[in-house]
């Protein structure tokens, strides 16, 4: 199997699973209890929190564990909206955010908030001038994703943070794709809130965190017990938290070598596809791009068919095609960078891991070439 869908989810690293295992059936105590078994859990949780804080240049008490990226995004937006509603009801985000942000924004719109959705250029980058122009006296939050999950484009986060700070507006970034893949420092980049998800960085599924800078007024999203300093209720998911901590430790350790390797393979495969297949192009910025992301549009064909054929060859990949999502609307990201519907339909996303090899890239290049040709032969849009 050639797994090239690491933006969807990653394999939990064996060392991460090993770190988690003792906390299922041996140190299974509830971290909120007073006895020694519970103290073991608390110690493990504190360690993970510190690891994560260190990875961001944050303080441990600024890290709040959640069930994943979606909850973190929901929390950041809804709680900020609530806490700062008296200051204003205007939020700025982008057209290419993940649905966890966009659908939450729609929810807020129905509740009287006004959302500005920034445009992006053909590469998927927002314009800092448009951002500045969008800020109003009643703007309470700017939420711009660190890197896009489909096309891999990395936004100018430090510059956005600077602008937000200048204007006294809070800045949240959905870093689910970028965290532990590229270096992030919340102070240098003036990030007030940051969402991350464990399963995108070889950690377990069902665990994530929200970084909230000290001083930011924050309400709870999940109400109940006093966990997470009374901010996020629910018995702490200790194995998940330990796994996330171990995954972050691992990701920070291998980041340099992983990045170097992925960029090399990424650009090699991009080159082959560009050179060997007609009527296709790379989506997303060529260099301001996640190290492991490749996104191509192939004219005249449709994504889901491509994916099934790739699967038959043992290759796992993804597409911005509507047909894969059950939603019928093709990727809002691809439309936002200016693709036509039928162009958006024929997109293919390949996201590498540190386990990817040159041999795999070659196999994929060959198979994609064949499949694209086969589907084009079947397509009423293609006349050669």
């Amino acid at each position: 199997m050639i797994y090239l869908d690491n933006a969807a989810t990653t394999k939990t690293a064996p060392e991460v699973v090993d770190a988690m295992l003792p906390y299922f059936s041996e140190y299974y105590g509830n971290a909120s209890t007073i006895y020694s078994l519970g103290a073991e859990s608390k110690k493990a949780m504190d360690h993970a929190r510190r690891t994560i804080a260190d990875s961001l240049g944050a303080k441990p008490e600024e890290i709040y564990f959640t069930a994943g990226g979606s909850e973190s995004d929901n929390w950041a937006l809804k709680a900020t909206a609530e806490a700062y509603a008296s200051k204003g009801k205007h939020i700025i985000t982008t057209k290419i955010e993940h649905h966890a942000i966009l659908h939450t924004c729609e929810y807020l719109e129905k509740r009287g908030f006004e959302i500005t959705y920034l445009n992006v250029d053909r590469d998927g980058l927002i314009s800092l001038d448009e951002l500045k122009a969008a800020i109003r006296p009643d703007t309470i939050l700017i939420s711009v994703m660190f890197a896009n999950n489909e096309i891999g484009t990395i936004e100018p986060i430090a510059e956005i943070g600077e602008i937000a700070k200048e204007h006294g507006v809070l800045f949240h970034t959905d870093a689910v794709q970028a965290y532990a893949q590229v270096p992030i420092n919340v102070d240098e980049m003036h990030i007030d809130m940051l969402s991350a998800s464990g399963h995108k960085l070889n950690g377990p599924k069902g665990i994530g965190f929200l970084y909230i800078r000290k001083g930011v007024k924050i309400r709870s999203f999940v109400h109940g017990g006093a966990q997470e300093r009374s901010r996020r209720a629910g018995t702490e998911n200790i194995p998940g938290i330990v796994g996330l901590g171990a995954a972050v430790e691992r990701a920070m350790r291998i980041m340099d070598s992983k990045t170097r390797k992925e960029i090399e393979l990424r650009d090699y495969l991009i080159g082959r596809l560009e050179n060997e297949i007609p009527h296709c192009w790379l989506n997303g910025h060529r260099t301001k791009r996640l190290p492991n992301n490749i996104n191509f549009s192939f004219l005249f064909i449709e994504g889901e068919s491509m994916l099934i054929m790739l699967d038959m060859k043992g290759i796992c990949a993804s597409s911005g095609s509507a047909c894969t999502s059950g939603s019928l609307d093709p990727s809002h990201v691809l439309l936002a960078i200016g693709l036509k519907h039928e162009e958006a339909h024929g997109s293919l996303r390949l996201t590498l891991s540190e386990d990817s090899t040159k041999e795999e890239m070659d196999i994929v290049a060959e198979e994609v070439k064949k499949i694209v040709q086969r589907l084009r032969d079947m397509s009423p849009l293609y006349e050669d």
Partner: protein
């Protein structure tokens, strides 16, 4: 998610291609998901469909239903071909996932469009056949949420 029959028709689609000087050609598109299906029919003087071919831009279900639809209409009379509904195609394929039902409507619509073209070319009316819409809206129920 797909049945074995669907996968078989997707992997080995029957009747892919075009028919030159076809008796009837119909192209339909599903604006919602942006997919397009073109159906070619060769109909003899007795109103029997001798040959059927297709080209499809669409998902696995779209390809498989195109393939199955062409198989089903071959050898049939025009009136019999009108009975090849999307339900019939789906049944022949051992079912489709709910989100893919609309793809099979595309296939039904393509047959109708090709027959309509045939009727127009020959200045006849086919009983029970209405001018096909280009745009098939899907009939799935949306739940409140």
């Amino acid at each position: 998610m797909y049945s074995e029959k669907v996968m078989d028709h997707f992997q080995n689609p029957r009747n892919v291609g075009e028919i030159e000087d076809a008796s009837g050609v119909g192209t339909v598109g599903n604006a919602k998901c942006g997919d397009i299906m073109r159906m070619f029919l060769d109909i003899d003087e007795n109103g029997i469909i001798r040959e059927a071919k297709f080209k499809t831009f669409g998902c696995g279900a779209a390809v498989a239903t195109s393939s199955m639809a062409t198989e089903l209409v071959k050898g049939k009379t025009i009136q019999e071909a009108l009975q090849v509904t999307n339900k019939a195609v789906m049944e022949a394929l051992d079912g489709l996932p709910p989100v893919k039902v609309h793809c099979s409507l595309l296939a039904e619509e393509a047959i109708h469009a090709a027959l309509w073209d045939y009727a127009e070319k020959n200045h006849i009316t086919i009983e029970g056949l209405q001018k096909p819409k280009n745009d098939i809206s899907e009939g799935e129920e949306e739940e409140d949420y």
